[in-house]
Every structure is written in C-alpha cells, then in structure tokens.
Symmetry: C3
Subunit: 134 residues, 3 copies
C-alpha cells in the first residue's frame, strides 16, 4: 500500500510527523510489516531522533548550521539563494528514505524515537512524503 502526505513546514528545523505516519499505518490495517518513507525533495530530509527534549533538536539544528554555513566561499551554486546549497549538503548528510518496522499494528519505534522532516530552507514549504507499507 502506498499513500502520500503533504506537510506544511513553516521554515528550517525539525518538524515532527510521527502522528501522520502513525495514522497511515493504522488506516492500512497491517499487523506486521515494514513502513518505508521517502521524501521527494533535495533540500529537506527525514530523521528519526529524540522526540522528548526539544533542546536536543535545537542543538542538532544549531550544530548542522555551523558545520554547513551559508555564504561559504566554496559554493558556486548560489543563484537560488544563500540557504540553497547548504540545504543540499545537509540533505546529503542525512536521509531521503527511512524504514520502520510495523509490529502489532504499530510502528516499532523505540521509546524516545520520533520521525521528523528536517527542513533545511528558511521559507515555508509544502513537503511531500511517500509512505510505502507492506
């Protein structure tokens, strides 16, 4: 089973989409299987991370921004704005697809795991994630 979701993200940072994926899994009515997510973009990515303490997510964002800063002299791909090339690099360093098993009709996430869209551009975007369940 495949479905698509669209997520409005207000700007850069980690946006929790766990409830959206959980919803798709419960609608699919699968007892045991695999849920594979794919994001159709090259400047936003998928991340499974700590869902409890917002300070961990803020630190992740700050750390990656320092590693991949805007305005780096190394960039030649600059026409789409100062946040575009860093966004591609950040996407390349994180995941475009992730898979989570389904057990007892539920995503088998660990206790503190959430599923996030990691938006790497400043402006609001509508991001599309494809959910494959089998």
């Amino acid at each position: 089973m495949i479905c698509e979701i669209e997520v409005e993200v207000p700007g850069a940072g980690l946006h929790d989409i766990t409830h959206r994926i959980t919803e798709a899994v419960s609608q699919a009515d699968i007892t045991e299987g695999l849920c594979t997510l794919f994001i159709q973009h090259t400047s936003a990515s998928l991340l499974i991370q700590e869902n409890y303490d917002p300070s961990a997510r803020a630190d992740l964002e700050r750390w990656l921004n320092r590693l991949v800063p805007e305005g780096d002299d190394i960039y030649t791909h600059t026409l789409e704005g100062p946040d575009d090339m860093p966004a591609h690099i950040k996407s390349a360093l994180t995941a475009t697809s992730v898979a989570v098993p389904v057990l007892d009709r539920k995503l088998a996430l660990g206790n503190w795991q959430g599923i996030f869209i990691w938006e790497h551009r400043h402006r609001p975007h509508r991001r599309r994630v494809i959910i494959h369940l089998n």
Copy 2:
C-alpha cells in the same frame, strides 16, 4: 518475517553484528528478498562498512569524535552527560535503518562489507535491532 535481537555493547565504537543478522536470515529460510534493519535508539546507529582491517574502524571512530566533540559550547542539551548530545548528532549523521538484499539464501553483502552497531555512548548498553525479512 520480523524478529528482534538484543546486543550488549561494551561502549563506544563499531560492534560487528553481521553474524547475528546472517543467523536470522538462515532461520527465515528465504531464497531471495530483502533484509531491513532498524535500531530502536537515538544514540547508537547502524553502519555497513569495511570488516577486514580494524584500523579503518578505529579511524572512523576517531574522525567522528573529532568532528562531534564533547564539551562543545553549542550544546544546551547537557543534562544526560557530556556524551549524550554528541551521540544524537552522530546518530543523525549515520543510519537508523539499512536494507541488504538476500540472494541464494544469504545476505548479498560485498566482499569486505560487515554490518555494525555504531555505539556513540561510553557506557555499556543493551541495544535492540529489529530485523524485517521479506
């Protein structure tokens, strides 16, 4: 088919779990398919890497420790110890799920590929990996 394994890791570094996954594949008795692994943690990750020369693994560990050091002023998420926030960042930069095809009843790994848990915390941990086979 889904099964779970628990792995006792003594501390930070790469821990080879190839034999554990191989075992699960041979028990599942699948001729051809896909083996997807998922680690239920946010401070340990999965890696497929060189399984031959231990110096490559030691260098990987050292390099990542330098890129993501403890005690960085940027961290605000520090309550769980100095190795906690670096562990989340290291996990975000590596993989929470990986998939390996199964061919002729065996994992289709390359000649020098092994499957590892990359533990990012110092203390011993019991880590859970879910294996999905189809």
Copy 3:
C-alpha cells in the same frame, strides 16, 4: 525481483544512474511497490540529489572533500593509498542503501531528484548495485 547492475565510474564524484534504475523498474513491470538499492562497496555510496544543475553536484563534492581531506594525521589506515580512508568516512556519512517507491510503473522521484553513485576514490572502478523490487 532482484537484479544487479554494474556501473563503470571514471573516478571520484557523482555519477547519475537514474536511467539504469528506471530501466530495471520498467522491465520488472511493477505497478506499485518499492525499489530498494544497495551498493556492495565501502568506498562508494548512493545519493538521491539534485539532478538539474551540475554546479550543485560540484559543490557537494568539493564540500565533502574539504570536510574529509586526504593526508589527515588522524588516519592510521593508510596502506591502500591516501584516498582510501577518506573514502570510507565519506561512505559512512552517506548511504549504502536507499529506497524509492514505485507508482504507476515509475520511480516516484521528485521533480529534481536523481539517483547517483557517489564514488569516493580517484581511480576508475566497476561498482555493483543490487536492485530489489517488490
């Protein structure tokens, strides 16, 4: 369904293999499903990224080369040449497996997404990618 492709890459950089994967998908004649790719190497990886502007790919390559330079004093694994250990690190930071959904008999890639082998060694190599379709 599983098939293997071999790709001759002339040297380091991003090599577009989208057409090879598209071909495999159309031969498999699957209406809806999941295409999972696995690269059998530890010094080349898989990347889904911008396929439109070559400057983005050139910047990705340059940026990663600066992050993981050759000749770093930290390396002890140096017997296989100065580009070997950086190649393992670059592979660890990117993906060994990626999954792309199949919709209406086609890979459900976003508008600007292509599938690439990211070769991390200088010399030409023949790289093997296993394609699992279900």
